[in-house]
Amino acid sequence: MSPRLQRLHGLVRKEMLQILRDPSALLIAFLLPFIMLIVNGYGMTLDANRMKLAAVVEAGAAQTRAIEEALDASPYLSVYWAPSGQAARRALDTEEVRGILTLRQDFAERLERPARWPAVAQLAVNATDPNTARLLQGYVTGAFTVWLQDVATERRFSTGGGPVLETRYWYNPQLRSADFIVPGAIALVMSMTGTLLTALIVAREWERGTMEAMLASPAAMAELIGAKLGTYFVLGMGSMAMSVLITVFVFRVPLHGGLGALTLTAALFLVYALAQGLFISTITRNQFVAAQLSFITTMMPAIMLSGMLFDIASMPRWLQLLTYLFPARYFVAAMQTLFLAGNIWSVLIPNLCGLAISAVAAIAATLAVTHRRLD
């Protein structure tokens, strides 16, 4: 064995022993992803089922009863029939319901003579959470549309010709938000474990001075960094495999893409995340600051700027440009496509290129700061 290989072998062995001796590395690699995925998968859902709505019907009549039935039948709504406007308002103020639907006394009467004035249904929603508010409005309007069509066919008044919009939801026909959040959450988990893993462990080596000792040894800088990246890469890929298994078998997200493409995407992202962790620990050399920086540069962008939860196309232009600097963006786009749509190379290739460039840049930056730090 050449001395170079022997050194590399020794270095990898040292890293392995270190991992086995201090369980916190294994904890970061396996326990943290597990908890994060379970919590994200079950906890973060945008599917609003059974939204609570208070309804006030001031005068009962045959027509309003049909509406009541239509509202009760909606799978998205859970209706509280409030005895009075005040009761409904109280429920809204204490956040027991998300909105109030009011049908005034003359509702049925106006409905009888649509030509004069339309019947008015008032819907007031608590818009503190605008997304939920908008969904609630959509569901109530939908329930009324269904009811109105029934009335129209029954009483044979025409709702006019006009376009009939048929909406088809592709790739995720049941509109399960878990199907896009969980593959996105893998990005969150991997960027956290990848970066935190190296950032904390190497920051401690700097704090204790063992890093200087290693650099003073005959091993070349590239060998040292290579051995560290290599060892933690294996650990990180293990946690990636676990994440994919949880996504597919626990959350039942379909995996349409190939395992090869998935592995390649994950490997590129992991190399980037590990190198970023090395970089952070080298410039900070302090565990508190390293933890804070990895939290801020990985977890927060992975949630907010990656497209995991919020649509990048709807952001202001300057922020859209900024998202290109965070590789979580490329990883999330690739993961969502791989899981829900398949190996679509027109989406994958640009994102894989983005990941590869980021990985190379992060490694180069780490090598550069380590050199400088020694002078």
Binding site: P130, L305, F310, I344
Partner: protein, 366 residues
């Protein structure tokens, strides 16, 4: 005794502030996050690329499409002329939706006949897809109204958006960020204050001083509390000044609630650090609790959407309660009964955690 505790508190605060990196980490990243998140956190759709596959030759389809061009929700993507092109458009994400208008659309419209228009939506992002569908339905209804203004309108739904009339997502996110960031800082500072002393060996030194366990806890708790409140107010000010959020509630009450809430963060941090021996383990412990605590609190997605077990679990989460108070204080004048209903669980959590942490410290002495 008081002067002893005061000395300890001052020592902790100066050691935090003296470190340039730590000082920087406490100030700059929170401000960057406020600015970035206030702009990024938007559930609404805006300028979604829409591609049209128009098989109609008449003028009515152009009129109908104009409704989409005028809507800020949509932006034009290249037209398509076949189902395969439509599919490629959606697959490659060049368009988020394809509108298919059939032959004889104009003729049908002018004759008062219905015509089936198809809207294909890329639902990889389910929430966006749902909103695109809603906007398209609105545009379609408006077009039908323009086409046939004399048609009886049997029903009119009047929509009112209370507390947030423009449906601004940042009005939802920023009061949440006040809560999330202050907890992260409070917990990290307190988790590290004990762990660092343990790792450096100064912990034993402190235990042999005349300070009693409760005094040590107090000396560690107050500085973290100060940092947490400082962070919360930093974000609060940024939200009010930079993003012009309304503030309709009572500021002293909010500060009081924030102090109580930060106390739960301190309790969490001290409880974790009493179990751990190194800073690294302490930081990890903090992550393991903080990340789920923020996720299941309703910070990003509503608690009522979660499965029942998760909702139950969130009852143990102080973030959940503080979020209700913070959002209520900014956007509406939250009734006192709601404030009280959210405060006592936080008090309970804080007491349990602090007692547990003091107990652990006492045990490590004996």
């Amino acid at each position: 005794m008081l002067s002893r505790i005061l000395a300890l508190i001052i020592k902790e605060l100066t050691s935090l502030w003296a470190d340039k990196q730590t000082r920087y980490v406490m100030l700059i990243p929170p401000l960057i996050q406020v600015i970035v998140f206030a702009n990024a956190a938007n559930y609404d759709v805006w300028h979604v690329p829409l591609s049209v596959w128009n098989e109609d030759l008449g003028s009515q389809s152009a009129e109908y499409i104009r409704g989409f061009s005028y809507s800020p929700a949509f932006a034009p993507a290249p037209d398509v002329f076949s189902p395969i092109q439509a599919q490629q458009m959606l697959e490659s994400k060049t368009a988020a939706a394809v509108l298919h208008i059939p032959q004889r659309f104009s003729a049908d419209m002018l004759a008062g006949r219905p015509s089936h228009v198809q809207l294909l939506i890329d639902a990889r992002r389910s929430n966006t897809a749902l909103l695109i569908g809603d906007y398209a339905a609105e545009i379609t209804a408006a077009y039908a109204q323009r086409l046939n203004p004399a048609a009886p309108q049997p029903l009119d739904i009047e929509l009112t958006d209370l507390h947030n009339p423009e449906l601004e997502s940042r009005w939802f996110i920023l009061p949440g960020l006040v809560v999330a960031l202050s907890l992260i800082m409070t917990t990290l500072v307190s988790v590290l204050s004990l762990a660092r002393e343990k790792e450096l060996g100064t912990y034993e030194q402190m235990l042999v001083t005349p300070l009693r366990p409760a005094e040590i806890m107090l000396g560690k708790a107050v500085p973290s509390l100060v940092v947490g409140l400082f962070e919360a107010n930093l974000v609060l000010l940024a939200a009010l000044i930079l993003f012009r959020l309304p503030f309709k509630g009572n500021l002293p009450v909010l500060e009081l609630c924030l102090a109580l809430y930060s106390l739960t963060g301190v309790g969490l941090g001290l409880a974790i650090s009493s179990f751990t021996r190194t800073q690294q383990q302490a930081i990890l412990g903090a992550f393991v609790f903080l990340a789920p605590a923020i996720m299941i609190s309703g910070y990003a997605t509503p608690v009522e959407n979660m499965p029942r077990a998760m909702q139950m679990l969130s009852l143990l989460d102080p973030v959940r309660y503080m979020l209700v108070i913070s959002r209520g204080m900014f956007l509406e004048n939250l009734p006192a009964s709601v404030v009280v209903a959210q405060s006592w669980p936080m008090l309970l959590i804080a007491v349990v955690l602090l007692v547990a942490a003091t107990f652990m410290v006492r045990r490590s002495i004996s």
